[in-house]
């Protein structure tokens, strides 16, 4: 028994081309706090744990699933008291408070060598202060999900330039529909629009500098971004009353054909399919170019696993993260998740939208942003997204909004 398991582990290590030391006999407890209870992510993490358990039968693995939203506030408690050995979180500046407070373990050692190369695309997103603080297991593209049947009916093709986008939108409005479904009740959906408008108008470097508080919000270039947004708002492109809806509550507009498109992350595909949409009437296209010549950059939020600094069994935790990062695991887990693997040797699931996302992100010359609330400082993110929502309802308030955001930025810089 012992022999077969060892050899199995060794074969695994060989097939995954990863430096999993076959001699590693892990014992003790491994406590994992995972931050999603939804069916697909749950199945994905349970699968990871099960496979890891088979490799290390003497390890006692304890998996706790925490609600995604609840985890965002609970993480402070469990990182400071009674920390697990592995916990789920997000890449980018979202890690900052915990890295600064010394609550995340530096896992740069895992990133040395082969694994680092396989995960190279997300290295910048996991790097703060020159070190890596976690390991990514999945990411997903953002883009425009649209009703192909409505486009066909109106004789439209997905836009590749801003002018086409506006023309298409006008045609959709003329047919008595809205161009875009959106629910801004929880603000972040407006952040997606800002990200794309800003990335396309001024490019990745400008966007990253802005979210890093290096550029004043009252800068004229920021106003240019909002001016593009205003074109859509003045046309009446967005559904009415979006402030009252969550992103889920806005979905029926797309499903019922009252709106033709939805700028969202790929996680919207599953609920839309559940609501009866199929590959025949749901399509995906990349957010169109605005300023010609600017390399296309995309939003692709990365979900990650980390080791708390106060973890008890860091050896096992490191081994687990190593397995999570492996091509084998990322292929299986992302097949279950319906998202994209990060490991460059992993295989991408055979699904229309995942394939489209994979292709888009592989060619994202401009760069890959995490998302407004993961790239920006927490406080700036919350003030910013609130401002975006206000702008969408009262675009005339732009000056006051930018003034306010600039004050927030100044204050953060002072602190």
């Amino acid at each position: 028994m012992q022999f077969t398991l060892k050899s199995a582990a060794a074969t695994l290590a060989l097939t995954t081309a990863l430096a999993v030391p076959a001699s590693a006999e892990l014992t003790g407890d491994l406590r994992i706090f995972f931050n999603d209870q939804n069916p697909a992510p749950r199945a994905a993490i349970e699968g990871m744990v099960e496979r890891f358990q088979e490799m290390h039968p003497d390890l006692n693995i304890e998996l706790t699933l925490i609600d995604r939203e609840a985890n965002k506030t609970q993480i402070r408690n469990y990182l400071t008291a009674n920390a697990p050995d592995v916990n789920g979180w997000y890449a980018g500046n979202r890690m900052r408070p915990y890295v600064s407070a010394g609550l995340f373990e530096d896992v740069s050692d895992l990133w040395e060598g082969e694994m680092g190369e396989e995960l190279a695309s997300t290295r910048p997103a996991l790097t703060l202060d020159g070190a890596q603080w976690g390991v990514p297991y999945t990411y997903y593209q953002w883009g425009i999900y649209y009703r192909t049947d409505i486009y066909d009916e109106l004789g439209l093709t997905p836009a590749t330039t801003w002018e086409e986008e506006i023309e298409n939108c006008q045609a959709i409005l003329d047919s008595g529909r809205k161009c875009y479904a959106i629910g801004t009740r929880f603000l972040w959906t407006a952040g997606g629009w800002f990200d794309y408008l800003n990335l396309r108008t001024h490019g990745y470097d400008f966007h990253m500098a802005l979210t890093a508080n290096e550029i004043p919000w009252t800068d004229d270039r920021v106003r240019e971004t909002f001016a593009k947004w205003r074109e859509l708002i003045d046309m009446g492109a967005f559904i009415d009353n979006h402030t009252a809806y969550t992103w889920q509550e806005a979905q029926p507009y797309l499903v019922n054909g009252q709106a033709a498109a939805y700028l969202m992350g790929n996680f919207i595909v599953e609920p839309l399919r559940d609501a009866g949409m199929t590959d025949d009437n749901l399509g995906f296209y990349q957010f169109p170019e605005i300023t010609p010549g600017i390399p296309m950059a995309e939003d692709a939020p990365t979900d990650t696993l980390h080791i708390p600094a106060q973890a008890q069994n860091k050896e096992a935790a490191r081994e687990f993260l190593r397995y999570v990062a492996s091509a084998e695991n990322q292929t299986i887990a992302n097949e279950v998740l319906g998202q994209l693997p990060i490991n460059s040797n992993a295989e991408v699931a055979d699904d229309k939208f995942i394939q489209a996302g994979f292709e888009m992100l592989s060619n994202a010359e401009g760069g890959i942003a995490q998302f407004f609330d993961r790239d920006a400082d927490a406080e700036m993110a919350s003030a910013g997204m609130e401002g975006f929502q206000e702008f969408m309802v009262m675009p005339d308030n732009l000056d006051a909004i930018l003034e306010r955001l600039e004050r927030t930025r100044q204050r953060i810089l002072e602190d």
Partner: protein, 308 residues
């Protein structure tokens, strides 16, 4: 022979400290658990809030002393004034629960078949959780699936987006909050009405009082204790309105339905909140506002007890 002398010169056999002070100590012993918990969970945190409000602290790392800076920033923060102003609206409009509860109580204070059932149905909203009330009202107001717009449509009134419009959102939430609060005031008045002296009512009737005059001059004065409690409970309830705001709008759209309690939570404990010091400063301001009412409440109690 010597023995009696000795006994006379020695003090009477020492009674234990406990025995001699039993009467004084016993109440304190009974109060002790309450006092300990009150001190640890109420008094101490109040002072802790004062203390934290002088620091810049993200709740995780080192706290840095910054004096009154949090307060200076607070008084320069438009969101603070929005919250304060919303608190004032809550305070004033929430008081409508008192006349509302009174009239329902007067209406239900009669002997008909099944009155107990009606009373409990009216009391029902107070029994269910505030979170549920908030959810139900949020659905009711929802512009796409809610019942409100079709109802308004029957009267020819246009569709409204109560919770999505910065001008109406606070009123929408207060209306939802009033529903259980009216029920609470109703119960207070129903019990109060039981204690109304029938002889006085009889006497007033003989003197020709009825309707509003009867209510104002005869019934209401006898309901004063109930009114007092209703006012206190409603004012405190308005000042700590948090759950409704959180459930129905999360302070939105763009922060226009925030109240102080919610803003405090938002800056210090929510998803993007890491400013413990700033949150504590808001808590201190909220505490000072509440203190006015608490002081009034204590002063009334003290005056009444002396009057007895």
């Amino acid at each position: 022979m010597a023995a009696p002398i000795i006994t006379e010169s020695t003090p009477p056999p020492a009674r234990g400290y406990w025995r001699s002070n039993q009467m004084k100590l016993a109440p304190w012993l009974f109060l002790a658990p309450g006092i300990v918990f009150f001190a640890v969970y109420v008094i101490f945190p109040i002072f802790q809030s004062f203390h934290i409000s002088l620091y810049r602290w993200d709740g995780l790392g080192e706290a840095r002393y910054i004096g009154m800076q949090n307060y200076e920033r607070l008084f320069d923060d438009p969101a603070f004034y929005t919250s304060l102003w919303n608190n004032v609206r809550w305070l004033l409009l929430y008081l409508l629960a008192i006349p509302g509860g009174l009239f329902i109580a007067l209406f239900l204070n009669q002997q008909v078949r099944g009155i107990r059932l009606y009373k409990s149905l009216f009391f029902f909203p107070f029994v269910i959780s505030q979170v549920v009330v908030g959810l139900v009202f949020a659905w009711f107001y929802n512009p796409s699936i809610g019942l409100l717009n079709p109802i308004l449509g029957l009267f020819g009134a246009g569709p409204v987006n109560i919770l999505g419009n910065p001008n109406t959102v606070t009123y929408g939430i207060i209306a939802a909050g009033l529903w259980p609060q009216v029920a609470y005031c109703m119960i207070l008045y129903l019990t109060g009405l039981n204690a109304v002296d029938p002889e006085q009512v009889e006497a007033a009737r003989l003197d020709g009082a009825k309707g509003w005059r009867m209510l104002w001059y005869v019934i209401l004065p006898q309901l004063r204790p109930a009114t007092f409690i209703a006012v206190v409970v409603t004012v405190i309830g308005a000042l700590r309105s948090f759950d409704m705001v959180s459930v129905m709008t999360s302070g939105g759209p763009f922060g226009s339905s925030r109240v102080l309690a919610y803003y405090m939570f938002e800056v210090s404990l929510s998803e993007y909140g890491f400013r413990m010091g700033y949150g504590a400063a808001i808590a201190v301001i909220l505490f000072l506002i509440m203190l006015v009412y608490i002081a009034f409440f204590l002063w009334r109690m003290w005056r009444e007890e002396r009057g007895v």
